[in-house]
Subunit: 211 residues, 2 copies
DNA sequence: AGATATCCGTGCAAAATTTCACAAATATTG
DNA sequence: CAATATTTGTGAAATTTTGCACGGATATCT
């Protein structure tokens, strides 16, 4: 496990570069310099070069980077040269939007199973094809389908227990939409998506700007 | 404008502390030490004290912090002693979930208007009460209702134009759900909520953990 | 009351991250 | 082909952020 010393922000930025490069590739841009890419991402150009330097040399001096090649390399680094299998717990308002979102599959992420406790929902088939499973079947279904990433979209009060279910089924990565800090064993990867934190940042900024 | 030297991460953490303190208040915990709070948030206790020190002294040595008092102070710092008025553009799958989310109002954020281009949607009233406006009315409605935060949930290709609309209507803060980097004038506050970036982080972690 | 334990606020050092600036490599121009 | 212009990759400096460790304030125990 060469966890080495690569900063988490670097990974986050790689993801942003990848996004940007995808757009450029669509626009049929062949080559791009770190300056231009930096401008597009709102990031310092030296930063981009430093980030890439953790993983190798991908550019040509005096020229720049081949868009497609760099995109391919970044995706390889991030592990996006495969499709990751996700399962969702809590198919409410947000869960439905997530499962319906067809961009995920294009990015290499697929919902292979969904779960809920609501008896009115369990057993129904979603427009995207998945049948809503009972929570009792989580362990079995997760193992059967080889789920790698667990997505939690239950009410906050149920998120921790949902996390435990995933953990004991052997899932090693969680994406949590509930506004709580999950307690997980060492070695688990947890990412929180928290809209309110972002809103609070905006509120602070607006409040400061006034004074 | 005393933008001072307060790190953005500090603001983000304040938001997390506030979340945690709210839970504690509900559990009727009166007093908490930085060590305990730190544990709950997965953060170093000195960090918490440092963060708070930017804004004043809120604790009592040998005792800790009064939960309710600290919560109040943090909310005041973040500017949450008022309700912020938001408008949403793009009432699709995600937009519907956002508008339906009743936690926002509890946290001090309210959707006072929603917009879309789809003629089939414009004019309809949502269960949460708002009528879907045409994009042409954005400028007027935003000014009329005093919208302070613009939320963008359109397809990525339309997000920049939606941003322009908000900007020219005088909105100073944007919450962007589309997976692109918005170009905005100096002084605007923009926060991106990007699920895929989070997923990419998980994918990287899982890929590394294997080797 | 004195001794002991707890815990905040903060100076300072360490660690992490960002940015600069320049050599080296490639391209272009006259 | 030499001179000039780009642009990467990277060491070193600058900046930011984190974490330690301790003085001082408060509480508790004997
Ligand atoms: N909707 C949003 O825009 C939004 C925004 C920010 C955060 N969130 C967070 O996302 C989560 C989901 O939000 P939502 O709006 O979809 O809520 P919701 O109430 O619409 O849906 C929750 C779903 O979880 C299911 N559920 C409840 N308990 C469960 C359990 N123990 N196991 C499995 N499933 C269970 C419910 O049956 C329901 O289908 C919440 O934590 C919310 O705070 C949502
Ligand atoms: N649904 C998700 O879970 C999810 C996840 C990650 C990111 N996103 C992003 O959020 C955004 C919205 O996603 P969605 O799933 O709700 O998409 P959607 O297609 O369901 O909804 C988009 C809505 O925007 C409206 N719209 C289109 N062009 C517009 C314009 N010019 N002005 C105003 N409104 C316009 C459409 O009529 C539609 O109602 C997208 O950028 C998407 O990439 C969504």
């Amino acid at each position: 496990m060469k966890f080495s010393k690569i900063p988490a922000v670097t990974i986050t930025r790689l993801s942003i570069y990848s996004r940007c490069l995808e757009t450029l590739a669509q626009e049929d841009v062949k080559i791009i310099a770190s300056d231009k890419l930096a401008q597009k991402c709102g990031i310092n150009p030296a930063q981009i070069r430093k980030d890439l330097a953790y993983f190798g040399e991908f550019g040509i001096r005096g020229v720049g980077y081949f868009v497609k090649e760099l995109l391919f390399e970044i995706k390889r680094i991030l592990g996006l040269n495969k499709t990751w299998k996700m399962a969702l717990v809590g198919i409410g308002n947000l869960g439905l939007a997530l499962v319906a979102h067809e961009n995920f599959i294009r990015q290499g992420y697929e919902f292979v199973a969904v779960f809920d406790v609501d008896p009115a929902k369990v057993g129904r088939r979603l427009p995207s094809g998945q049948v809503i499973h009972n929570m009792d079947d989580l362990d079995q279904v997760v193992k059967e389908k080889g789920v790698e990433i667990g997505v939690i979209a239950t009410p906050a009060s149920k998120a921790q227990s949902a996390a435990y279910r995933f953990i004991s089924a052997g899932v090693k990565a969680l994406l949590n939409f509930a506004p709580i800090q999950l307690q997980v064993p060492e070695g688990m990867a947890v990412e929180n998506v928290d809209f309110t934190v972002k809103l609070d940042n905006l509120a602070y900024h607006l409040t400061m700007a006034e004074s």
